[in-house]
């Protein structure tokens, strides 16, 4: 499969300290991959560096063949890349609907507002409330929903299940399945690999700012020893 998103030898820095030491990553169109790893190994940094939120970066990031390194941050979304941060980034001074409508539509094929409200009925009910008055789970739904409107092709999703009740985690899993069915390409960062195993095609295992393993979901049972060692569980 030709890779839609191809990252090679990506390095990134926070000030003087290097956080990524040559990350290699390939994601095919419509594929959903999950990056596993302990806290602080550079999972979030990988997503932020791909998105361009971290500007001190080196290496290669290609989206559908296009070199993304020189693209300014506000033009990155136009090339089809979307990011949902771990803290969700819901705006307190905007209503739920204003939050939803905030990211400009960059391409056709995104969900309409009606489709979104059908998928997330809670958001319809609360559309005039301030965004941060929603529960944690609803905020996560809102954070994902607003990216789905834009028609991006590759979603970078950082720990969507963190701190959420099992029933909400289940719901987020359903939403991700639907996205996959629509052909969305997803790069997921997740601590909960049992959750990730249900929806991902492939796993990347990360340690010390590098990918140390890469295997399809079917290999998970054989890899448990290695996983436990690297994840320290």
């Amino acid at each position: 499969m030709a890779a839609l998103l191809e990252v090679s030898n990506l390095e990134a820095w926070y000030g003087e300290s290097q956080a990524l030491h040559g990350v290699d990553l390939k994601v095919g169109e419509g594929e959903m991959i999950t990056i596993l790893g302990r806290n602080g190994v550079g999972k979030t940094t990988t997503l932020r560096a791909i998105m361009g939120l971290i500007r001190s970066r080196k290496g290669e990031i290609r989206l559908a063949g296009k070199d993304m390194l020189p693209v300014p941050l506000h033009k990155t979304a136009k090339h089809g890349l979307g990011f949902v941060p771990e803290e969700r980034g819901i705006f307190a001074t905007l209503t739920v609907e204003e939050n939803l409508k905030l990211p400009p539509v960059v391409a056709e094929g995104g969900m309409s507002l009606d489709e979104i409200y059908e998928l997330f009925p809670n958001l319809l009910e609360r559309r005039s409330s301030p965004g941060t008055k929603l529960s944690g789970g609803e905020q996560q739904m809102l954070a994902m929903a607003r990216i789905l409107r834009t028609g991006i092709k590759v979603l970078l999703l950082d720990e969507p299940t963190e701190g959420l009740a099992p029933v909400i985690v289940q719901r987020i899993g359903d939403v991700l399945q639907k996205l996959k069915a629509r052909g969305m390409t997803v790069v997921l960062v997740e601590q909960n690999f049992r959750f990730a195993a249900k929806i991902s095609d492939r796993f990347y295992l990360m340690d010390h700012g590098q990918m140390v393993a890469d295997f399809p979901v079917g290999d998970l049972p054989n890899r448990m020893g290695e996983l436990n060692k690297v994840l320290g569980v």
């Binding site: 361009g52 506000h74 990011f83 705006f91 905030l102 400009p104």
Partner: protein, 295 residues
């Protein structure tokens, strides 16, 4: 003569009107400061100079091009906004990554430069700018004489404040602006051109100051120092209202203007410091300001 609390009612209403006029200017100027500070995190010390620039553009436009007051009301804010946009793009935008103190120092220097330049050419004395013919004279309300132009200023600034508030709170552009105030890099990652938004915001703030300057020209004289005198009070208003709160800046502007006017009636000696006394008390009790959110 009718008296209230031993004060002639004419004097009371007269000062109330003066307070309302001053309050209008405070509200318009502190609104611009709050908008700029909210998004750019820059304390715009050049705000007084931009207000003065507005008055001068109107004055010079009339002198050299026969631009009347009504044209000035539209042209001047645009001229001052373009001036603001150029300043932001060429100079101020280079300071965003540095300590906020640099933005403050830069705009302070800019204010001194602009005011110094005008002082060099026009001296410190005020130039007269007459009230437009359609608004000259006044209306006798029976209990007091209301100059038409002053009534016009109060109504127009109220409309200007509400329009700005609606632009920020009720429009799509405003939602970009509010979101960028909270988390600029995420908004930029969504594909919104935040640097352009910053330029537009600074231009909007400067344009509001210019608009206020035109309104003020027929009331105060057009002088290079007119901004310096006013801006210190306006900073106090912003501190009382709470940095970054749009409605807070508007309401506080009017309230403090009226308070100042009433102080002139009841205890004139304190009228020039009453706003600063209120500022000190508010800072002690609610450091984030009356309408500010505790950060």
């Amino acid at each position: 003569m009718t008296m209230i609390f031993g004060i002639p009612i004419q004097a009371l209403l007269g000062q109330l009107l003066v307070g309302l006029i001053n309050g209008s200017f405070y509200a318009m100027l502190s609104l611009g400061l709050a908008v700029i500070f909210g998004l750019l995190r820059v304390i715009n010390f050049a705000h007084g100079a931009q207000y003065m620039l507005g008055a001068f553009v109107a004055f010079l436009g009339m002198q050299h091009f026969g631009m009347n007051f009504w044209a000035a009301l539209i042209v001047t804010p645009l001229v001052v906004a373009i001036f603001g946009a150029i300043i932001e793009r060429l100079l101020l935008s280079r300071l965003y990554d540095l300590d906020p103190l640099y933005g403050l120092l830069f705009t302070f220097g800019l204010a001194l430069t602009v005011e110094g330049t005008f002082r060099y050419f026009y001296g410190a004395a005020g130039q007269p700018y007459s009230v437009p013919a359609a608004l000259s004279g006044g209306t006798n309300l029976g209990f007091m004489f209301l100059p038409n132009y002053r009534a016009f200023v109060v109504i127009v600034s109220l409309a200007g404040c509400l329009a700005t508030w609606a632009l920020i709170e009720k429009t799509r552009l405003g939602s970009y602006l509010r979101a960028a105030t909270e988390n600029p890099s995420l908004v930029q990652a969504f594909g919104i051109n935040v640097p352009l938004l910053l330029t537009l915001t600074y231009a909007l703030g400067a344009g509001l100051a210019g608009f206020t300057g035109v309104l003020a020209a027929p009331i105060y004289q057009v002088s290079p120092l007119m901004g310096t005198n006013l801006i210190i009070v306006v900073f106090a208003v912003v501190v009382v209202g709470g940095m970054g709160s749009i409605m807070g800046a508007i309401i506080t502007g009017y309230l403090l203007g009226i308070t100042e006017g009433l102080t002139k009636v009841f205890y004139p000696e304190a009228s020039s410091i009453v706003i600063f006394v209120i500022m000190a008390i508010v800072l002690l009790i609610r450091p984030a300001g009356l309408f500010g959110k505790d950060a």
